[in-house]
Every structure is written in structure tokens, then in C-alpha cells.
Symmetry: C2
Subunit: 322 residues, 2 copies
């Protein structure tokens, strides 16, 4: 068993179409294969405003699976440290032996989360989507946008963030790295207006997106809420949408946007992303539909990206050994 550092992993793993296709197949496997994906294990450390989550999933037929530890300690920034930490452990499904420690510090989670956004957008947004409205300026605001460029011809971004300074940093980063125009907006509604795709990527505990700002034909990916106290979408967004999709209903009802929804008829009609990627249910069926996808994060994504990273790392090693 070897420990791989974030630096090694960063050099080996890129957010590309192979990764996005892999994450798509992980969602499909939730509906087409036997999958063991236990509920998230969570340990709260209230004394230090911290939490550790443990996720895992075994997909039938795969020769390995991942156990992921991820933590958020929200006093860390005061100590000059990032709030997030994490690692993945890849385990052989043949013998139970640990194959690798991927000490990625959350990098692979960032990549697999963004890839899920791309998968959702590929099935739910209009094919001619060019403009993205982003609420939030954190690392997922960057990764999600990069992932989108692999599935839609994006060439313009409208961003809103509570901190003007961070919005400026975001603009500068994206304009350099992805070579597309970024407009900083003063309100979330301005970021939403005329966007083909809207991404909410905030730790908000109260809605940052309202139904009255939406136009026909828009797609929304909400990936911020992953805990009992978080919410990004006003429930009237779900009511207004023609199609509501989530990654795992059971999780979204506890940790995601479905938590705040009391309309049981609506909840019954929600599709899971794997139903759409597997072809069991249709995605977008009309140009003017409003579509929503709520992502809370799943163990199958972790198993998929950890396996991919391990393959890439070993391929690179072989390369170096030539």
C-alpha cells in the first residue's frame, strides 16, 4: 500500500471528458448494478465547529472501492488553515487489502463534484447553452465551470458573490485559465438573468435563488447544500421547475434541497440522476422547460474517481520507470 500526496494526484488527474464519462457511469450503476452504499457516517466535533463525514460505496464487478474521509472545521480559517481536509482509501474487493491512500486533501472530491454537475447539465440543459450564471465564488465555482466547458459551448459567465474582492479574484482566474468573459454582477438575480445554466455553489443556510428570477429554458444545478442546515433554492424554484432531479433522493430529503419541500406530489415526481443517465427516464424534453438538479454527493462518485486516480498514478509511475 502506498500513500500518494495531493501534489502527485494533482499531476496525474485532470478534469476531462474521461472523468465526466466515468462519473456518469457511476450514477448509471446506481440503477443498473448491485451497489452497496451505506448512509453517510458523520462525527460532529461541536467544541471546534467541526465535522467529519465518511462515505463509501461498492459497485458490483469493480475490483476496488473507496472509503472517503472528509472534514470541515470552520474555525480553521482563523488559524490560517483551510476548513476542508480529506483523503480516500482504495480497498481491493477481492481481498480487502488497502491498495492506496490518496491524501488528496479534497481535490478528488472537487473534481468528482464538478463532474457530476457536468453530467447533470449534459442531460438537463439546452444543447446551445452558452451563458452560465454562478452564485458563489469558491473552488467549486471554478471547477463546475471548467467541467461545463466539456459538455456545452460556454463562452460567457455572470458571477455573483457576497465578497466583491473574491468575485474579482474569480473573474481574473477564469479569464486567464478558461479564456472566457466574466461579468461580475451586483445581485444574484442579475447573475441569473439571461443565463442558460445557473449554478449555485454556496454554503447558504437560506435561499439564494428565487423562482421569480427564472426564465424559460434555464437549467439550475444546486450543489451547495449537503447538510441538514443548508439550503440554496427557494422551494418555489422546485415548484416552478418542469423537471426536478437529484443524485440520491434519500440523501436530498435529509441533506439537500428536497429537505425544505413539503409538496409530496412534487417529491414523488423527482427523478434520480442515474435514472436519466441510464435511459430509464428522460432528461430535458423541451426547449422551454426549466430543469433543476440537486447534488449532495455520493459514495459511488468517490469510488469512481479514486479508482481513476489510482490507475492514472500507476500509469504515470510506469511512465517514469521506462
Amino acid at each position: 500500500m502506498r500513500l500518494y500526496t495531493k501534489d502527485e494526484i494533482q499531476h496525474a488527474v485532470r478534469l476531462n471528458t474521461t472523468v465526466i464519462d466515468g462519473i456518469e457511469s457511476a450514477f448509471t450503476s446506481l440503477k443498473t448494478k448491485k451497489v452497496a452504499m451505506p448512509p453517510i457516517m458523520r462525527i460532529d466535533i461541536p467544541a471546534n465547529n467541526g465535522e467529519v463525514d465518511i462515505k463509501s460505496a461498492y459497485i458490483e464487478g469493480y475490483d476496488s472501492f473507496a472509503v472517503k474521509l472528509s472534514s470541515g472545521f470552520f474555525n480553521n480559517p482563523k488559524l490560517g488553515l483551510p476548513s476542508a481536509n480529506g483523503m480516500m482509501i482504495l480497498i481491493s474487493t477481492t481481498t480487502g487489502e488497502p491498495q492506496a491512500i490518496l491524501a488528496d486533501n479534497g481535490l478528488l472530491t472537487d473534481i468528482r463534484t464538478a463532474a457530476a454537475g457536468a453530467v447533470a447539465t449534459k442531460h438537463l440543459s439546452r444543447e446551445d447553452s452558452r451563458t452560465v450564471g454562478i452564485i458563489g465564488t469558491g473552488s467549486q465555482a471554478k471547477y463546475q465551470l471548467e467541467a461545463l466547458t466539456h459538455v456545452r459551448p460556454i463562452d460567457q459567465v455572470q458571477v455573483y458573490g457576497r465578497s466583491r474582492e473574491k468575485a474579482e479574484q474569480y473573474k481574473s482566474f477564469i479569464e486567464k485559465s478558461l479564456n472566457m468573459r466574466v461579468d461580475i454582477k451586483n445581485t444574484p438575480s442579475e447573475a441569473v438573468n439571461n443565463s442558460d445554466i445557473i449554478i449555485t455553489t454556496t454554503p447558504a443556510t437560506e435561499p439564494v435563488l428565487k423562482a421569480e428570477w427564472l426564465n424559460e429554458g434555464q437549467h439550475i444545478t444546486a450543489m451547495g447544500s449537503d447538510a441538514e442546515h443548508k439550503q440554496e433554492l427557494d422551494t418555489n424554484v422546485l415548484e416552478k421547475a418542469d423537471l426536478v432531479v437529484c443524485d440520491v433522493k434519500e440523501q436530498s430529503l435529509i441533506l439537500g434541497e428536497l429537505r425544505s419541500c413539503s409538496n409530496s406530489k412534487l417529491i414523488n415526481q423527482v427523478h434520480e440522476l442515474g435514472e436519466i443517465t441510464s435511459g430509464l427516464k428522460p432528461g430535458r424534453t423541451g426547449y422551454n422547460q426549466i430543469t433543476v438538479c440537486d447534488l449532495t454527493g455520493t459514495g459511488v462518485q468517490d469510488t469512481q474517481i479514486a479508482r481513476y486516480a489510482y490507475q492514472q498514478l500507476n500509469f504515470k509511475e510506469d511512465d517514469y520507470n521506462e
Copy 2:
């Protein structure tokens, strides 16, 4: 973060009274401190007769806690591999940062499990206990006996195992390493007869110990059952006992000896080990009582032993650096 190998850990950690006292305090903390100990996460890999368990516990006031992965893949012996694998990850409760990977391959679990047996025996067996009857010849049969020597004046062992060859190996190992006499018995009842302390340490799925074999004053530690399909004690053993104790009732009812017991009055009277170590409830109160302790394994033990190992490893490192 550093990865420590089994070899390094083996050199740094000994099964001694410090470890036993630490495990005792871990049980006490379950009753006297705020503890976050989520239910065990389990991933089954039926295709390869395998399972992976994840345990964790945070004890208030500690600056770190452990997440433990342990696996049993029961086709491994056919491949020439041990069925068990495992590791512990020590995480800072201040920042969430991983401090160490203890790639102990189950060694620390063996030690903390044996230490729990010693804690139970210290509170529940007669102080003058000299003879131990052991059913089972695996690694815990060795570790449990070694742990007992730290709390009781053990000088004789009666062992029964289904394989005569393994019983011979056990006898030879114990006589050399612990310098005490070991008699191999032909039946479990002979191993039980005249023993002061009885340890069952088997993967049995049907009872290996029956009430009719028991004498007044005996103590039994049953540490084999840790899964829904396992059982070592005939339920009439629990009925006959004057005092039944377990590590965590909720777990014992699902994974341990209480699972097979339908006597709700008896179950109500079962004490948890932490109630006894903390002084909230008495242990043995009479010379002729029959006492039982069922151990299924707890996350607080893992956190305790992982913290101890890390301290020892760093102490050793400092030593080497001098």
C-alpha cells in the same frame, strides 16, 4: 501526515497495564463524557465472501480521534492470505487534519480487544482466579490470555480447539511466551470444567458454551460474536448467570450474544462495562456468582489505542533522534 507500518507499530506498542488502563478509561468515558460513536458502517462484498467495517468515536476533550477500517475476506486463506486486514486513521479534533495512518493490519484491534477482556475480567472475575479455560486457538486466544496475566495471577490454561494441530501450536506458543502450563482438552466442557475464567474466542455461529458445564464462581468473557450470524453462548448461559455485562447494549443486541436472547427482563438487567468501570454499577459482588461479559468491539477502544500508539511512535522517534 505520516504512514506507520505494522512493523513500526509492533515495536512501539506493547499489551501492558498502561494499555489496559487506557481501554478501561475509554469504557468509563462512554458513561461520563460526551462521546460521538456512530453505528458501525458496513460494506458487504458477497461475491468474494468479504466485508469491510468502519468504526469511529470521538471522546470529548481528546485532541484526536480514530477512524478504523477493518475487513474480513474469508476466501483469502485459499489464496494464501490472512482473512483480516485493517488500518486506523488518527484525526485532529482541533482542525480535522489527518495526523497519522496506522497501517497496523489489525494488530491494534487485537491489542485493544484483549485489553477489553482484561478490563472485564478485572471487574467480574474472582481475584484469586488462576485457571483459564479457552475455547478457540486463534490470535485472540493468545492476546486475551496475555492480557489476563496483567490483572489476575493466571498460571494454568485449559484449551479446546476443533483442530488438534492448532491446539498443539497454541500450547507450544503459550508455554514458551508466557511460561505457564497449557493442557489440551478434547471437548469444550473439559476446558470449562474447574476453570476460574472462561474465554470463548471463536467465529462460531452456534453455541460452543452451555450452562450445564458451568460451576459457581466462574467468569465468562465471550468475545467471538461481532456479526448478525454469530453466537458463542447458549442462551441458557445468560439465564444461569448472576450478572450479565456487555460493552454496548445496542451493539450486543444486534451483533453479540444478546441477539439470541428473548428474555426482555434479563436484557433490562444487563449492565454495560462502562457503568461498572465508572463505578455507577457494581461488578462481581459475591464469590460464588457466575458472571458473563459479551464484547462486540467499540469505536472508543479504537480511538484510545490509536492515540496511545501515536504517542508511543512519536516518543520512539524522538528517542531515535537524540
